[in-house]
Symmetry: C2
Subunit: 239 residues, 2 copies
DNA sequence: CGGCCGTTTGAGTCACCTCAACCACGGTGG
DNA sequence: CCACCGTGGTTGAGGTGACTCAAACGGCCG
């Protein structure tokens, strides 16, 4: 837990939710917010512990998971820098949030944030649009989980991560050619996200490499050799 | 397309989004809204035709579908009476909406609705909370699609439909014993919702009937004999 | 060096898919 | 009234993609 830094310095200040705030309101939030760090694997918020705060991701990747009593687990979302974490208007979140990599958050109390929402229509508007986008993204993933083959799933995940992690790739269109990414997830986590087993993920990465679409470098590194082909394999109808 | 009836008569007036409106605003919406009917199977809104309106479901069930170029299809959501249909702030919806049963809608232009949202904080608040709930529901379904067995999926669907269609069952807790429901979906649609094949759905219904948990009556009818067991099979961690 | 962890690789199995026939029902028309 | 047909659902037999279990690999760290 650190002393708040000036929002004006913030790494995500023009992509995050708070970009909607006026300078005065931003100053107010600045006073109320505080930074928190988590190291990879740490639990950020569980289902049992009702969380009293929301946050903006400043750095790192957060995974949202749901699980069944017998241990089966599904990752239902990944949060990247500038994304919003939390469940306003509900004391208990329906999922657990865990740091997939080392993570830095900008936290604010849920009550304060809700007040701010009520006062600042622009902020509420931003949150609403983001939430609508989150629904769309979930639907896209439901299509993947319900219909797609293992190969398509793995390809789709690589495309997703490349889009979010690539320096400044345009939101639309294919990622640019010789692109190297560092996977923020272990094989087991990838499997949990894709609704597969980790062995299956490993084999599919193998095949993609054999097909010359990607190249694995070290454990977590992936170089995308043929982005166009990867996009095609992912079978995203929206691209 | 019918002449608007008074909102005061509306079947869903105290469950739908518009419950947030003041009498004056409600009157305004009343003037702008109009009713539309669709018969089962009709397309309500496609991906290609950018929809210029939103609606509240008055009667019937609407299915939201996404599909892959090769024809594989996934139902990503079901809308029941009082639910909201539409995608504010975006000209093209990322899914197609189709009438699963005969449907009656209360429609209003997207532009007018967006203006109303801007003017009425309570309405925007309602929409925001509903959208947040929609995200939660999608996540729940991702858990089903990613982890659950065919039997669990079918059981979960029956529980879902029973909860939404049952007269006034409490939101929480099991549905009450000898409950008869009419499925709003064909076997093929159930399969598309659950990420299964229709033959598999049929076989699982068979097994549930053999186990004495349900009883099939006619094509679409299901009598739930053992609600507690059905809930258990569905494996919903939230119940 | 030895143990640990994440990953890869291999072999065998199974739940669900595929293909195909069959059945029950409702509508149509002779 | 019944023969016909179309549609939606069920049932059966066989195939397969992903799972399961198990072992080997290769960094990393003490």
């Amino acid at each position: 837990m650190q002393r708040p830094k000036a929002c004006l310095d913030c790494a995500v200040k023009d992509k995050a939710l708070c970009k909607a705030l006026s300078p005065e309101e931003l100053a107010k939030l600045n006073r109320l917010s505080y930074r928190k760090r988590y190291s990879a694997g740490q639990l950020i918020a569980g289902l049992s512990t009702p969380e009293a705060w929301c946050a903006t991701i400043l750095a790192g990747v957060v995974k949202l998971t749901k699980s069944l009593p017998d241990g089966r687990q599904q990752i239902v979302g990944l949060l990247f820098p500038s994304d919003f974490l939390g469940r306003p208007f509900k004391s208990t979140s329906p999922y657990a949030a865990e740091a997939a990599t080392d993570v830095q958050l900008c936290c604010y109390s849920r009550r304060h944030f809700e007040h701010l929402l009520a006062e600042q229509p622009d902020l509420k508007q931003q949150l609403l649009e983001r939430t609508l986008d989150a629904v769309d993204a979930s639907h896209e993933w439901m299509l993947l989980l319900g219909c797609k083959s293992a190969k398509e799933r793995v390809a789709a995940l690589l495309v997703l991560i490349a889009r979010r992690l690539a320096p400044d790739a345009g939101a639309a269109g294919a990622v640019q050619p010789p692109l190297a990414i560092e996977l923020p997830l272990s094989r087991a986590e990838i499997a949990d996200y894709l609704g597969l087993r980790l062995e299956t993920v490993s084999r599919q990465l193998n095949r993609l490499e054999a097909a010359g679409v990607i190249k694995r470098v070290a454990r977590r590194g992936i170089a995308i050799c043929n982005a166009r082909e990867l996009d095609r394999l992912a079978g995203d109808p929206s691209s």
